[in-house]
Amino acid sequence: MSDMNYKAAIEAILFATGSAIEGSKLMVALGTEEEPVPKKVFNEAIKALMAEYESEDRGIRLIELDGKYQLCTKNDYYEVLGKIVNMPKKHTLTDVLLETLSIVAYKQPVTRAEIEKIRGVSCSHAVNRLVEYNLICEVGRLDAPGHPILFGTTDDFLRSFGISSMDELPDISPDKIEDFRRQAEEEAGIEVTT
């Protein structure tokens, strides 16, 4: 790729990494291990790129630090950026989250696989979100192949529902489950043998 556009390639690399990259590494990436892009050519490209970024039309700049190069947001736009980052997000518990939460509450400690079995669909996203919301957390590992994580509800969970311990959860005993089964059978007018 001798006719590579170096400026564009540098931009792509610095954008993708987001971090500071040594000039020497960039020269190898643009050329080959044996034959990096000549320093002179590289310098020309990077200087031109830097100059372009300084234009008023650009919201990012290319900075040099100790022979390393990095792209970053221009200070002028911190305020606008702040508006987006701190824009009050609407955190709501969707049906998926509530369903997952109810399973953890009543079946804890419970693994992801068990939750998936009940819901019939994978639940990684919902579990992660609930952990992030601090409603559920890791409570241990199951003593089984792969040592899957066991999840349980948090103190925040109890506090949010205004209860002091899990004993106060409305009862779902094995008898209750038997009831559901009977009920479901009656509804369907069939007998389910197990």
Binding site: G18, Y78, P88, L93, S102, N134, S160, R181, V192
Partner: protein, 248 residues
């Protein structure tokens, strides 16, 4: 006939296999020669290596459908003057066309993904100064007015759903008791019934089976036994009796 050496897994399902046969033979999808395609389809099943029951059953259901269409087409048409009788193949053609459409779409998607897959998305790199104002998510606010009672209801609904979901295919039959008639049992039953016998009338054999599911499973069992070489089926003339010979 040349030896067929096929693994069914190479086909995504019965519809895929049917489309393959239609294309291979340059059949017109709107006028499928049902006798010929049923024969070829059964030959494939016959040549098939032992597969797990799940895969097999899906292919066998289609075999049953084909045979049912075939029999409908062989029956003399009733002379109804008002309505034109629907082609027994119509439903199958509709399914085949729909499946073909999505198969086409998936090949288009495949091409698109090859082109699109080379872009790289960047991780968040928000300057520290901006990020410091980190929003706290208040679990209590998130829970809002939700009560434990409501959460309990949700859980109960889920449990009910899990029971309902037992088997999406079989549960659709409604009145069928799960596992009431097992194919494996039926194979043994029929095998014992016909052992050493020749020229058993297909109608008589199936006629003794009560209930729709019983009939279906018995039919599948006969197909299974045919496949494993425990019996052969013959029909000497058009519309004649179908006769089963046990080979054991």
């Amino acid at each position: 006939m040349e030896k067929l050496d096929i693994k069914l897994e190479t086909f995504e399902g019965p519809l895929d296999l049917l489309l393959h046969l239609i294309e291979k033979n340059k059949f017109n999808i709107f006028d499928i020669p049902i006798v010929e395609i049923t024969k070829q389809y059964l030959d494939y099943l016959d040549a098939m290596e032992e597969e797990d029951m799940d895969v097999m059953s899906e292919f066998l259901v289609m075999a049953a459908t084909l045979i049912s269409i075939k029999s409908k087409m062989l029956l003399p048409k009733e002379e109804t003057e008002e309505e034109e009788e629907e082609d027994p193949r119509a439903e199958l053609v509709k399914s085949l066309l729909e499946y073909k459409m999505y198969k086409y779409a998936s090949s288009e998607l495949k091409d698109m993904s090859i082109d699109a897959a080379n872009a790289y998305f960047k991780q968040e790199s928000i300057p520290k100064e901006v990020k410091e104002v980190k929003e706290d998510i208040d679990p209590a606010e998130l829970i809002g007015d939700m009560t434990m009672q409501q959460l309990n209801e949700i859980f109960k609904t889920l449990l009910r759903r899990e029971i309902d979901r037992v088997d999406p295919v079989r549960s659709k039959f409604g009145t069928i008791t799960r596992e009431e008639i097992r194919l494996e049992d039926k194979i043994i039953e029929i095998r014992n019934e016909i052992k050493g016998l020749k020229s058993i009338n297909f109608k008589t054999l199936l006629g003794a089976k009560r209930g729709r599911l019983n009939l279906i499973v018995s039919f599948l069992a006969i197909l299974e036994l045919m496949k494993s070489g425990a019996l052969v089926i013959r029909q000497d003339e058009m519309f004649g009796d179908i006769l089963i010979d046990s080979l054991e």
